[in-house]
């Protein structure tokens, strides 16, 4: 699916990522583990094209995403989405959740399929009422479900899961990971699962890469 | 730290160049011919030849950027030119008048900080209690009073009715009470409001709960733990208020007939004494920049996070 090679990134004197190489295969869940400060979030931002690496390549569908300009990148943007650890801060507090969830569709000139949204809401065991609420009015589990729905509406091929449950309660964590797993099987998606919790990683993923001292081992 | 200082010095330099440009431009857009204005006296109109000669003498025949450079060069030598109306050196006038304004500003900033901070602290500690509501009411009222009106009312009450304070002129401490108080009430009440809300903001933080749970005295809790944190935003604002006070002094000096740089600035507008007006704008700006920069330094000294960046316990 995606091949990352020789990735380096420093901020100031601090080397955050040092020669990162890995390949994500189609339909697999690849875990990347590491302590806080090992550059996990930086890595996901680079794959998303939010920051440029100092060196290295990210090959997706035969194209090196690193060297793409803003306009060219847009074509691939929708294919790679992310679910983050603090979902409530990933929704505009002044906007109702229902609007936030469908807003990205128009950015990619996609039509809203009401049936599909309804199905997703049902599948995620959400109450339709949450769409009429604001981010601070719903629980962490609910908003994380919505952020997954928001990403899925774009039909991405790759999901980066950046500690998607580390701010959630254990019972909610189990619920969310279960949903993610089901979707991955149903749609044959590829996940990059970033986590610090080895126990979760062992249950959830097919393959594990350890990011230590800014290197993969 | 070093980078921070270099950045800071750079931005101060840009600001200084900027305000000198603005002051210079004031002279450029001012109505009337400077050469003519500088020659005319009461009952005397200069001849065209005289004006032309003066124009060359003042360098007004040169391109505008050269004029600016010359103007700045003169200022750096301490020469702001000659007053159009009194024909005196502007520098001498400023030196004579500045101490009055300086004294007024100092009194006002002291009143602003002492009363503003204390009232704010008292109100914040007693949030939503009667004393807080009273302080809120008073500050809200003071905050909306036009300075010049208040000054006139003071004169009516304390000079006319009670006869305890002198109305005008420059004498000792007594002469400064009414001007300084009327000049500082708005800034004082704003300081109190900001101090209050800054205290309350700190009460919501975890360190406050922890400090309170330690069982320490109210004094230790509020004054030693909360106040130093809560006062940081207030310091910045006090720096800004120095500017408000410096500018507002023009009004107060006019009413109380204090011969400071502000009251003459108002006069200079009417007498078209633009060299003075330019000097006034530039120098008050300079003083303001100086004070706000000092406040920035003070905040760095108080806040160890910037000062000790990188010094971590292993």
């Amino acid at each position: 699916m995606i091949k990352v090679s020789n990735l380096d990134k420093s901020f100031g004197d601090k080397k955050i990522l040092n020669d990162i190489n890995f390949t994500l295969k189609s339909g697999e869940i690849l875990s990347i583990v590491g302590d806080s400060g090992s550059g996990k979030t930086t890595l996901s931002k680079i794959i998303l094209g939010l920051i440029k690496p100092d060196r290295g390549q990210i090959i997706y569908e035969g194209v090196d995403l690193v060297n793409l300009g803003k306009k060219d990148f847009k074509k691939y943007r929708k294919d790679i989405q992310i679910i983050s650890q603090n979902p409530s801060s990933f929704f505009d507090p002044s906007m109702k959740l229902g609007r936030s969830v469908i807003e990205p569709l128009k950015n990619f000139k996609l039509k809203l399929d009401d049936e599909k949204l309804k199905d997703l809401i049902e599948e995620f065991k959400l109450d339709e009422k949450v769409l009429a609420r604001y981010p601070h009015q719903v629980s962490g589990g609910e908003i994380q479900r919505l952020s997954i729905i928001r990403a899925l509406l774009l039909e991405p091929k790759i999901l980066i899961l950046d500690e998607p449950t580390s701010m959630l309660d254990i019972s909610v964590q189990a619920q969310i990971l279960d949903i993610l797993k089901r979707i991955q099987v149903d749609k044959n998606m590829s996940y990059i699962f970033i986590s610090h919790d080895m126990e979760v990683v062992e249950i959830f993923s097919d393959r594990v890469l350890n990011l230590k001292n800014s290197k993969l081992i | 730290m070093k980078e921070y200082i270099i950045e800071k010095v750079k931005s101060i330099f840009i600001v200084l160049v900027g305000i000198s440009l603005l002051s210079f431009l004031l002279g450029v857009v001012s109505p009337g011919d400077p050469a003519e204005l500088s020659l005319s006296k009461y009952g005397y109109s200069p001849t065209p030849q005289e004006i032309e000669a003066r124009r060359v003498e003042m360098g007004l025949d040169k391109p505008i950027h050269i004029q600016y450079i010359n103007w700045v060069k003169n200022i750096l030598k301490g020469d702001f030119g000659k007053s159009f109306s009194t024909k005196e050196n502007v520098t001498d006038m400023i030196i004579r008048k500045a101490p009055v304004t300086f004294k007024l500003a100092m009194y006002s900033i002291v009143i602003t900080s002492v009363f503003g901070i204390s009232l704010g602290v008292i109100a914040g500690i007693n949030k939503n209690k009667p004393i807080d509501n009273l302080i809120k009411l008073i500050t809200n009222i003071l905050f909306s009073l036009p300075t010049f009106w208040l000054a006139l009312l003071f004169i009516l009450i304390f000079s006319e009715k009670l006869g305890i304070l002198p109305t005008s002129g420059d004498g000792g401490f007594k002469y400064m009470i009414m001007p300084a108080v009327s000049l500082s009430l708005i800034t004082m009440s704003t300081t109190a409001m900001v101090m209050r809300s800054s205290m309350i903001q700190e009460f919501g933080k975890q360190y406050y709960t922890f400090a309170k749970a330690k069982g320490i005295s109210k004094y230790d809790l509020y004054i030693k733990n909360v106040l130093p944190n809560a006062i940081l935003p207030v310091l910045t604002i006090l720096g800004n208020f120095f500017g408000s006070i410096l500018g507002g002094s023009a009004v107060v000096e006019t009413i109380f007939a204090l011969s400071g740089i502000g009251s003459y600035a108002v006069e200079s507008v009417f007498s078209k004494d633009f060299p003075y007006l330019q000097a006034y704008v530039l120098l008050t700006g300079l003083a303001f920049v100086l004070v706000t920069s000092l406040v920035d330094i003070l905040i760095i000294i108080i806040n160890p996070k910037i000062r000790l960046k990188g010094d971590i316990y292993e």
Binding site: S36, S171, A174 | K205, N225, N303
Partner: protein, 312 residues
């Protein structure tokens, strides 16, 4: 003596729009000379419960009922009197160590301030604080005292907080979510730290946590809290859970296979007649919707579930 006894205790947070009932009809004894853990997920009311013992709830919290300590109803005391319990009787270790110290004061001042309650001699204070810090594993205590909080790591900050809390020798220590946000390896240190408290002469501790492993390894007695109520308490609750919620909660841990417990907690604004867990419960009967269960004795636990009602 020294037990903390709740009697019909409630905490409400009333805002313009709603009334959040955080702690509901609490009747509970937290015994002294023990490490007690209150375990629960976010929003269950566990932190509010500990803050209400300390009297540190925010202004807009309304409480009813009583809390007895040493046979005195501490909720009836004047604020001035109640505040005297802080530091001297009740020590508190707050969550988020990185935000729990004043950011612009040196550790020294924040440490001494607390010791000052029990010791007036300056030299003695310094000696004692160095002793405590050494005991807590700092090799250079003097250097630590001269640091600002942001110059320490999360684990170090937590040790400093603990040192401050125990320095005035309170009878009780209350710790709020001590492992929240800490890296795995620091969590282990944290466990050691709390086990050590006894060696400082503090044997009554209440730990509020969502971390089941931490509670299991540390506590003599565990209380599980759900939606404002204690649903189960006893000495082997986490090894041998009885309440359907406790079971589901434990089974959703990754190490236990992450089994899913469906549904979500009832909103704290919602009042119902029956059991507050009934909407998610697999063992639900008719009775669960009609009647609110009490805590029933079963083996060596007390369980708030009709399954364990032997009709006593």
């Amino acid at each position: 003596m020294g037990d903390i006894i709740f009697e019909d205790f409630n905490v409400n947070f009333e805002t313009r729009k709603q009334n959040v009932k955080s702690v509901r009809d609490m009747n509970l004894t937290i015994k002294s000379h023990k490490i007690t853990g209150i375990v629960g997920e976010s929003g269950c009311g566990k932190s509010v419960l500990s803050l209400s013992i300390l009297g540190l709830l925010p202004d807009y919290a309304k409480t009813s009922g009583n809390i007895y300590y040493d046979n005195k109803d501490i909720t009836a005391l004047a604020n001035r009197v109640r505040e005297k319990y802080l530091g001297r009787e009740f020590g508190y270790i707050s969550q988020n160590p990185s935000e729990s110290l004043s950011p612009i004061r040196k550790i020294r001042k924040q440490f001494y301030e607390s010791l000052d309650l029990v010791e007036k001699n300056k030299a003695e204070i310094e000696k004692k604080s160095i002793e405590i810090l050494k005991e807590l594993g700092f090799e250079k205590p003097l250097e630590v005292l001269d640091k600002y909080p942001f110059q320490l790591s999360g684990g170090q900050q937590q040790r400093v907080l603990t040192g401050i809390a125990i320095s005035s020798s309170p009878r009780w220590i209350f710790a709020d979510e001590p492992t929240k946000g800490l890296d795995e390896n620091i969590k282990k240190d944290s466990l050691e730290l709390f086990k050590k408290l006894r060696s400082f002469g503090i044997d009554s501790t209440l730990v509020i946590t969502h971390d089941i492993d931490f509670a299991k390894n540390l506590c003599d007695e565990v209380m599980v809290m759900y939606s404002g109520q204690i649903v189960e308490m006893g000495i082997d609750v986490l090894d041998n859970p009885k309440h359907p919620y406790t079971k589901g909660f434990i089974e959703s841990m990754p190490s236990k296979g992450m089994k899913i417990m469906e549904g979500k907690t009832l909103s704290p604004t919602e009042d119902i007649r029956g059991c507050r867990f009934a909407n998610r419960c697999g063992c639900k009967t008719k009775r669960c919707d009609l009647e609110s269960p009490k805590l029933y004795n079963y083996e060596n636990s007390q369980v708030r579930c009709f399954l364990y009602d032997k009709g006593e």
